[in-house]
């Protein structure tokens, strides 16, 4: 394939079976990584403010992550000078709604740096932002692994787990005495939620809701994700509990692994298990006076029904 054709997606994919989408790459995944981790951190830190947790570093880190995510998606658009047009579609598009929520989240987050009491409110736009992100994926009806209703709880649980992980990691670095005790508990709860939803999600995709190739990607990812992103953080938490002398390092490692697991999950879902719908026919036609024949759905386990 010559370089000139690099921009021409159809040229590379003239098959019938679902193929990996090329419209959104790592830059788009970056939006879900930064937005998910950043809002997860902001939600947990903001709710922590009710228990006396206040740290400008945590607030800034959360906002910076969300900002980096938005910048990353900005790099993906084809006509960046028109970026403000993204605000026009609020009637239907979750991408527009995400942008509107960002316009509340950033000023509020920055204001909370000056007036600490406002930190207690930051979780509201942060949660709305995380929800918008989940809906962005769910609305992409052309990608079976995204349009699943389970993508909603999965995205939200992972964002919270990533946020709790980052709080634990940053806590050991910037908070006196490390992150409060309840953060480790929050990490366990959010990881449990994430792995629980993941199991259902993976099962449904493998069971026929995703093209075979996308399901295969999820199957291959399942073990490293389960162990690396979910079991290992818990193991580190336990280790930190029973070995006080390495507690700080173990908690930081737990946080790091939980965050990395979430980032890997997003990279895989957005850029690797993102096979499109492909094509299908419900019936093959009668030809030359013969009988009509069965349907055909290349790249999927299920074939459409044969006869009416």
């Amino acid at each position: 394939m010559s370089e000139e054709f690099e921009d021409a997606p159809g040229m590379r994919h003239l098959g019938l079976s679902p193929w990996l989408q090329t419209a959104w790459d790592l830059r788009a995944a970056g939006n879900f990584i930064g937005g998910g981790s950043g809002t997860g951190l902001l939600i947990i830190a903001s709710l922590g403010a009710f228990k006396g947790l206040y740290s400008p570093v945590l607030l800034l880190a959360g906002l910076a992550l969300v900002g980096l995510g938005l910048f990353s998606v900005f790099l993906e658009i084809g006509r960046p000078l028109r970026a403000l047009n993204v605000l026009l579609g609020a009637k239907r598009s979750w991408m527009t709604r995400e942008a509107f929520v960002a316009a509340v989240l950033f000023p509020l987050g920055l204001a909370a740096l000056i007036w600490p009491d406002l930190a207690k409110l930051v979780w509201i736009p942060a949660a709305a932002y995380l929800y918008c992100q989940a809906r962005i994926l769910e609305a992409a009806k052309g990608i079976p692994t995204w349009r699943s209703p389970l993508i909603l709880p999965l995205t939200i649980a992972s964002g919270l787990a990533e946020g709790a992980g980052i709080l634990l990691l940053l806590g050991t670095l910037v908070l006196d005495g490390g992150a409060p005790e309840w953060v480790a508990g929050t990490l366990v709860a959010t990881i449990a939620a994430r792995i629980f939803v993941w199991m259902f999600y993976r099962r449904r995709m493998v069971g026929g809701e995703a093209p075979v190739e996308a399901a295969a990607v999820l199957i291959r990812f399942s073990m490293p994700f389960t162990l690396g992103g979910n079991v290992i953080p818990i193991a580190f938490l336990v280790l930190g509990g029973i070995q006080p002398d390495i507690r700080a390092a173990a908690l930081a490692a737990a946080g790091l692994a939980a965050m990395a697991g979430g980032w890997a999950l997003k990279i895989v879902i957005v850029t690797k298990a993102a096979q499109n719908q492909g094509f299908a026919i419900n019936h093959s036609p009668a030809r030359g006076g013969g009988e009509s024949g069965p349907g055909f759905k290349p790249g999927w386990r299920e074939v459409p029904k044969d006869k009416d």
Partner: protein, 217 residues
């Protein structure tokens, strides 16, 4: 009301790709971009194997997910059912490309031509810079349809008012018309023969109908 649709007779299509070529000529699409293409399927297992040619493209869905996700309102749906892109508003975010279950949308960021940097006369005449970096797709040849309507012609009947792909089909496998009009060419075909639509279970309401049993009973 009016609802434009294409009826594709799978029994008639011979897979000659003339519609693909006509579309590429009408729209001077760059290499790799095919608003209309004809899939070549081999269905069944030996000894009952058959070859099926399936014309696909933008289905101008009743409930287009591409429109629902578009953050800029560049993608809209006209009252007559045609799904359009405003190239002057689109930011090229590609969201509609992942939202379309029919792989009907493309984005090309730099000018490309059939013979590398040498455009053909047709490509030069029809080159439109507004299409760079934004989403693009089949428009059901909206210019021809609108021209026809403005001049009292019936789209799908008068060639000047009919999409280029339908005009070019040498086996008369493609028919264009108004499914909301019970007496139209397409309505009559759909009444007479069995048909299905692709991925109908997704609730998009696609407007390419496939006839699969046109032998009279």
């Amino acid at each position: 009301m009016t609802k434009w649709a294409i009826v594709a007779d799978l029994g008639r299509c011979v897979g000659c790709q003339t519609c693909t070529t006509a579309c590429r000529h009408a729209n001077a699409t760059p290499p790799g971009v095919q608003y209309r293409k004809v899939l070549d399927m081999e269905v069944g297992t030996f000894p009952d194997v058959r070859r099926v040619f399936v014309p696909v493209g933008c289905m101008h869905c009743d409930e287009p997910p591409c429109r629902d996700v578009c953050p800029t309102t560049a993608t809209t749906k006209r009252a007559d059912g045609m799904v359009m892109i405003d190239y002057d508003i689109c930011i090229g975010c590609g969201y509609c490309i992942v939202a379309c279950p029919y792989q009907a949308r493309y984005k090309v960021s730099k000018p490309t031509f059939a013979f590398k940097d040498q455009e053909t006369q047709n490509e030069r005449a029809r080159f439109d810079e507004r299409l760079l970096g934004v989403a693009q797709k089949c428009t059901f040849c909206v210019d021809r349809v609108d021209y026809g309507l403005a001049n009292g012609l019936t789209p799908g009947v008068a060639p000047e008012a009919t999409p280029a792909c339908v005009n070019s089909c040498l086996s008369k496998a493609l028919t264009f018309g108004d499914t909301d009009n019970p007496d139209s060419n397409v309505s009559k075909l759909l009444k007479r023969y069995k048909s299905f639509r692709m991925h109908e279970e997704l609730g998009t309401g696609p407007n390419i109908h496939y006839l699969w049993e046109t032998e009279d009973e």
